[in-house]
Symmetry: C2
């Protein structure tokens, strides 16, 4: 199988991730706890160390709270339902955002009366229009701005630094969804002025399913929305205070955390970025040579990484995916990719969404050649 | 190490769980999806099959919705925040319940104005007082009744059949927390009149961390509280309809699910129950022979399984745990075990909670002998 669905989850992971997880499963898969027996203390230490590696990766201070959750979706639910909204608050979100943000904001719209606005984009380049954004912010002052770092549909690297810079002029809370970028694209949390950075373990970090979270760089006050046992302060019917444990209910998934630890240890972000950038250019060039494809590619290659979406004239995207799978053993993802807003702008709805090709560290030029050949055969 | 902390998480798991997880990690750890490529379809099939095994285990119809979540805590949050409460609704909960229920109900008390009542217990036997419960129900009619099946503090098997029978006279919603019982104690969802059964993969089912959920046997209407991408109906800013996917945001943890599948395949509930019952009796007898211990053991041995809590005169329970760990390499858990209500009745707060010994399939008589010897040495 040629795996080109790395935006759904990177696969395979580095060997060390598998080895570490199996080892943890067999020798140390117990419930963490500071005051308990040796293995439980070691689990707590591993959690502590892994959080430190996350901090380091985004250049955050040691005081920044790192909250571990079972997925970035849970993290974003805790963030969005944790912010103390006032009715009528203006919240901006990029049209590239995922349903983990979009649906959660929509629920807050219904339940808490916030107002959600899409950040404006240039309809020729599909890029965020910063000048228009400035105008929109001046008309409806932002209480919070949510932005995905890299689009999981087109691979577009969004201008989060400029965007959050503008947002901060209004003291807005800035939240970055780094699901497709952390471990791939450099994130300097301070330079970026991101208050909260949500992350997924199993995507561009090459960790396993079952671990995600958020870093509260800006020390934003968050209420609790998901609660449960914490193994601490158990007689208290409220969650314990503390800027991490307050948001960390349930047993920690130490097996997944050990996998993330191994992934972080072996991660070479710069190298992955350089290689994936070359592969992305190669992929774009190859696909541009296939007749009948419409590509949705950022015009500036410096703002593009890892993912290419396209449609094929007169073909349902799902059918393209099925043919690639059944006849060529090539795995891509088709449809709307859990990104609800952007398709109206891309105009791919008549094709039932796009065919999405997403790269990872295990892909090479031959994979891309094979994909292009397959598409040429499909189109004959 | 002698591991006697199986109520926190069972350890080790059956070999097949480790093998299957490692195999899935290496060969099939992709994002499930019905319409996608072969591996994604196989992942969906595995999820489907695992849900069927859960249904079978509790004798539920094939129409009963099985929702997979990353943990039973997330499941209980979805249940408690999903029920459409009216202000003033009377909700009963057993004093043995865990903070995954207790804190979540407490939050609903604060946010939605429900009233939480503790089910009455007999202060001599620490058992639920069914007659008093009947009286309480008649005074304050129950809208919902939450009950843990087996106490994670004392191993007491609660009288859920009688309790839910009474609750159903008032058409109350009945919710069972089976974290410590599923896979160990027989659950017939129909006989039990449980509307919703929440379960944890990593405890008495011998599956891994990262997978839990609930079975909506009674087809209770639940709103959504945790939302995100579902890989389906992506243009819809609301969660898709459907009694499972509506509550299943984020990528499915297929590695954990495969581990649960393997655990369920190898599970022999009857055999485990019989063996653990014998071990529990042996443990109680052994501990009763140690002078200076106060045991919190249900008087009727048929209502007791797997867990024994005790305190030692003039000793902080945490210190007992540390000595057992450091001097004897015996792992127990000490403190309040995330059960906030029951300690007031047990009277163990002056000891900072109990020392808890919890058994699993890997324990034998020798482990118990060693524990008793160690305690005798501690007490000399």
């Amino acid at each position: 199988m040629i795996y080109l669905d790395n935006a759904a989850t990177t696969f395979p992971k580095p060997e060390t991730v598998y080895k570490t997880m199996d080892d943890t499963n067999r020798n140390a898969a117990i419930n963490a706890g500071r005051g308990a027996y040796r293995l439980a203390r070691e689990a707590s230490k591993l959690i502590f160390d892994t959080k430190n590696m996350i901090r380091k990766l985004i250049h955050a201070d040691s005081s920044a709270a790192v909250v571990f959750t079972p997925s970035i979706t849970i993290a974003l639910n805790e963030i969005i339902n944790g912010i103390e909204w006032n009715k009528g608050d203006c919240v901006y979100v990029s049209p590239y955002d995922h349903n983990a943000v979009a649906r959660t904001l929509h629920l807050a719209e219904q339940k808490q009366g916030i107002k959600v606005y899409l950040l404006p984009i240039d309809t020729d380049t599909y890029e965020i229009d910063i000048e228009k954004t400035k105008y929109e912010f001046s008309r409806n002052k932002p209480r919070a701005v949510f932005c995905t770092h890299v689009s999981n549909v087109t691979g577009y690297i969004l201008p989060v630094i400029e965007l959050f810079e503008e947002a901060k002029k209004y003291d807005a809370i800035t939240v970055l969804d780094s699901a497709q970028s952390l471990g791939l694209v450099e994130i300097d949390s301070k330079q970026m002025k991101a208050d909260i950075i949500a992350f997924a373990g199993h995507k561009s970090l090459y960790g396993p399913f079952g671990i995600g979270g958020f870093v509260n760089v800006g020390n934003i006050i968050l209420g609790v929305s998901i609660v449960g046992g914490t193994g601490s302060d158990s007689l208290n019917l409220n969650m314990p205070e503390g800027n991490e444990s307050k948001y960390e209910s349930a047993s920690m998934n130490i097996v997944a955390i050990s996998g993330l630890y191994a992934a972080l240890q072996s991660l070479n972000q710069k190298e992955i970025y350089e290689r994936e950038k070359l592969l992305t250019r190669y992929l774009v060039n190859k696909l541009e040579s296939v007749k009948g494809l419409k590509l949705f590619v950022p015009t500036n290659p410096d703002k593009h990484i890892g993912i290419v979406s396209f449609t094929i004239n007169n073909m349902n995207s799902e059918d393209v995916g099925i043919i690639l799978d059944e006849e060529f053993d090539i795995a891509v993802r088709t449809g709307y990719h859990c990104a609800p807003y952007i398709h109206e702008f891309l105009g791919d709805c008549t094709f039932n969404g796009t065919v999405r090709v997403s790269l990872g560290i295990n892909n090479d030029y031959a994979d891309i050649d094979r994909l292009a050949e397959a598409l040429n055969e499909v189109l004959v």
